[in-house]
């Protein structure tokens, strides 16, 4: 899980072009949107693309989005659960 979260942080910084954020600046449980990392709706779409490109996961139910993309940890938990299926 720790390795996956570290990978995700690096991928988020690269995919979203967060040039003034270092991967290690992102907390495991820090909210990615609003008051946390401050991502917006376009970033949310890029995170969906990230899951497809790097983990070959398609989100079947869009309503799951806020839960999956709440934090790096929630993303990692979703990926791990998906890979076990």
């Amino acid at each position: 899980m720790e390795k996956l979260m570290a990978d995700l942080k690096a991928q988020i910084v690269a995919q979203l072009n967060l040039q003034e954020v270092k991967p290690e600046d992102i907390g495991d449980d820090q909210p990615l949107f609003k008051e946390g990392l401050g991502l917006d709706s376009i970033d949310a779409l890029e995170l969906i693309v990230l899951l497809q490109q790097h983990y070959h996961i398609r989100i079947a139910n869009p309503e799951q989005g806020p839960e999956i993309f709440y934090s790096v940890r929630s993303m990692a938990e979703f990926i791990t659960a998906h890979q076990k299926q």
């Binding site: 979203l16 072009n17 376009i42 779409l45 890029e46 490109q53």
Partner: protein, 206 residues
């Protein structure tokens, strides 16, 4: 409109890795090897503290940077947000980004690129940065048409729809770029040129 009631109170020109404001060379970047690098260096030199800049396409970065320099010299603080208009124009519309987006479609289309596949998005980025909420228009022409920009801005200023108008030319295609932005205001500023198509053209060619 009586043209004497509006003046060009500031102008910013960015071309050939140089940034001019009101005719004065403010900064010259000898080190940048690409447009991307020049824009990043310009951001560090004139702005900073605006992470969304890095997500923009090159057209938006150039327009955002030119507006930043222009408004540092000619702030629009005397105008209501609803009274600041923008009238921009260029040759290539958003083709520079359209091509990149088309290439991304071959894999997984990039939402972050898609949102910049319209030239007038740069107006939105400038408005978000400075809180402007006025009228706006973006024209696509083969070359800078001072008469058209003058006519549109004059209409907005003369009708009372705006008390200030940021207007001009903003072109990006591959590594070729050019920004010429003017601040036009319905107020007399000492030394300011009257707002006319001829004066827009003279500044453009300077």
């Amino acid at each position: 409109m009586n043209n004497q009631t509006a003046y060009i109170t500031g102008h910013c020109v960015i071309r050939q890795q140089r940034v001019y404001c009101n005719g004065q060379l403010l900064w010259q970047d000898e080190s940048a090897a690409s447009l991307q690098e020049f824009l990043r260096n310009g951001y560090d030199r004139f702005a900073g503290q605006y992470p969304k800049f890095h997500k923009m396409d090159n057209l938006c970065k150039l327009g955002w940077l030119a507006a930043e320099v222009l408004l540092q010299a000619a702030p629009a603080v005397d105008h209501l947000p609803e009274q600041v208009a923008l009238v921009l124009s260029n040759r290539s519309a958003s083709l520079d980004t359209d091509v990149r987006y088309y290439q991304s479609v071959k894999d997984i289309p990039s939402p972050a690129l898609f949102v910049y596949t319209l030239p007038n998005i740069v107006i939105g980025e400038i408005c978000i940065r400075h809180g402007f909420k006025g009228e706006h228009a973006f024209f696509v022409n083969n070359r800078f048409d001072a008469a058209q920009v003058f006519a549109c801005a004059a209409l907005l200023l003369g009708s009372g729809a705006a008390t200030a108008c940021i207007c001009g030319w903003l072109e990006v295609m591959d590594q070729q770029y050019e920004a010429v932005l003017y601040m036009v205001e319905r107020k007399d500023v000492e030394g300011a040129l009257p707002f006319t198509a001829d004066n827009l053209q003279k500044i453009f060619e300077s």
